[in-house]
């Protein structure tokens, strides 16, 4: 992801739609990916992504550049996604103890890529939102602990603790969540 030039940010803040499109093109895959992995479906992911970029467009003139544009957009994305989840009461944290293994039964994946995607979705589905977002940002999007801490506005040790708990949970549930895995 190449950084967006300051001039582009200024132009976009002044209402230049071409400059804003450049910002969109830089971050759209990240925003869509986070919202898709958190919501689990295309419709919600599109709605969240649209909501995020409307907020960015509206607030760009107030962007104070204390943090980088990347961190700022990451934060808007994460907050919007989590709030959307809460508002729509989508997928509350799933406990295997409560719902049993049937919850994760799905049609057999048709390709190796789908198989991996399916396995990752199942793993993520047992985590609460805080743990899930940390796992997505670190394991899939490759953010550093520092970037995750800034994006979530939390202490770096909290990031570490959330990742540790999420991974302990995944290790303890791995055979139930992904039964076909050896």
């Amino acid at each position: 992801m190449k950084p967006v030039a300051l001039e582009t940010i200024t132009k976009a803040a002044q209402g230049d739609l071409y400059a804003f499109e450049e910002i969109y093109r830089t971050f759209c895959n990240f925003v869509y990916s986070i919202s898709w992995r958190m919501s689990g479906n295309n419709e919600d992911a599109e709605e969240i992504t649209q909501d995020v970029f409307l907020k960015v467009h509206k607030s760009l003139k107030n962007f104070e550049r204390r943090s980088s544009l990347k961190t700022w957009i990451y934060r808007i994305t994460i907050n919007t996604t989590i709030n959307y989840q809460k508002r729509k009461h989508l997928k509350t944290p799933v406990s295997l103890d409560e719902v049993g293994i049937e919850k994760f039964a799905s049609p057999l994946p048709s390709s190796p890529d789908e198989e991996i995607q399916d396995r990752v979705n199942k793993l993520l589905s047992v985590l609460n939102d805080d743990q899930k977002i940390c796992m997505i940002l670190r394991n899939i999007e490759g953010l550093s602990y520092e970037e995750i801490a800034q994006s979530l506005k939390i202490n770096i040790n909290t990031v570490r603790t959330r990742l540790k708990r999420a991974r302990e949970k995944l290790l303890s549930l791995r055979k139930e969540v992904v039964p076909y895995e050896v």
Partner: protein, 158 residues
């Protein structure tokens, strides 16, 4: 380092390559000596790292920009309408003292009308009554003046 510390680091900084060179060396020395920790690290890598690294990136659909562009345009139009409305409201707000004075004046006039009209009406009624009484008395006096025996009172009673 103890096994508990090693396992915690394996689940976090070691798995995420966030450890320093010295820390990494120290952890790996422990892993060569401790079978339980080595197996734990291998399992952690297999379950917690490999599947996530192989996952395909998700891309935003092409049509999404058009939707966002449309929404921005709609929002821009709504903002223009809002601005126009605010400007209009501002115009009225600027003349607020005039409107306030007019309202006060109108209220005072209304109050005066409400208070004054019944009093005037009452006074008029009283005046009418007094006039009637006066005319009656004058009429009575006139009758009396005509002559004592010919008064209608006399005629009535006698």
């Amino acid at each position: 380092m103890k096994c508990k510390q090693i396992k915690e680091l394996v689940l976090t900084d070691y798995l995420d390559d966030q450890v320093s060179k010295e820390q990494k060396q120290s952890i790996e020395e422990h892993l060569t000596q401790c079978t339980a920790c080595r197996e734990f690290a291998a399992e952690a890598k297999e379950v917690l790292k490999n599947p996530f690294e192989s996952v395909q990136p998700i891309k935003a659909p092409d049509h999404l920009w058009n939707k966002i562009e449309g929404a921005i345009e709609k929002h821009r139009q709504e903002s223009l309408i809002q601005k126009a409305w605010d400007a209009l409201s501002g115009t009225f707000a600027a003349h607020k003292p005039v409107f306030a004075l007019s309202t006060v004046a109108a209220t005072i006039l209304l109050l005066v009308a409400v208070v004054k009209i019944p009093a005037w009406q009452t006074q008029t009624a009283a005046n009418d009554y007094l006039n009637e009484q006066f005319e009656y008395l004058v009429y009575s006096d006139d009758q009396t003046d005509v002559g004592l025996s010919d008064t209608w009172v006399d005629e009535y009673f006698l």
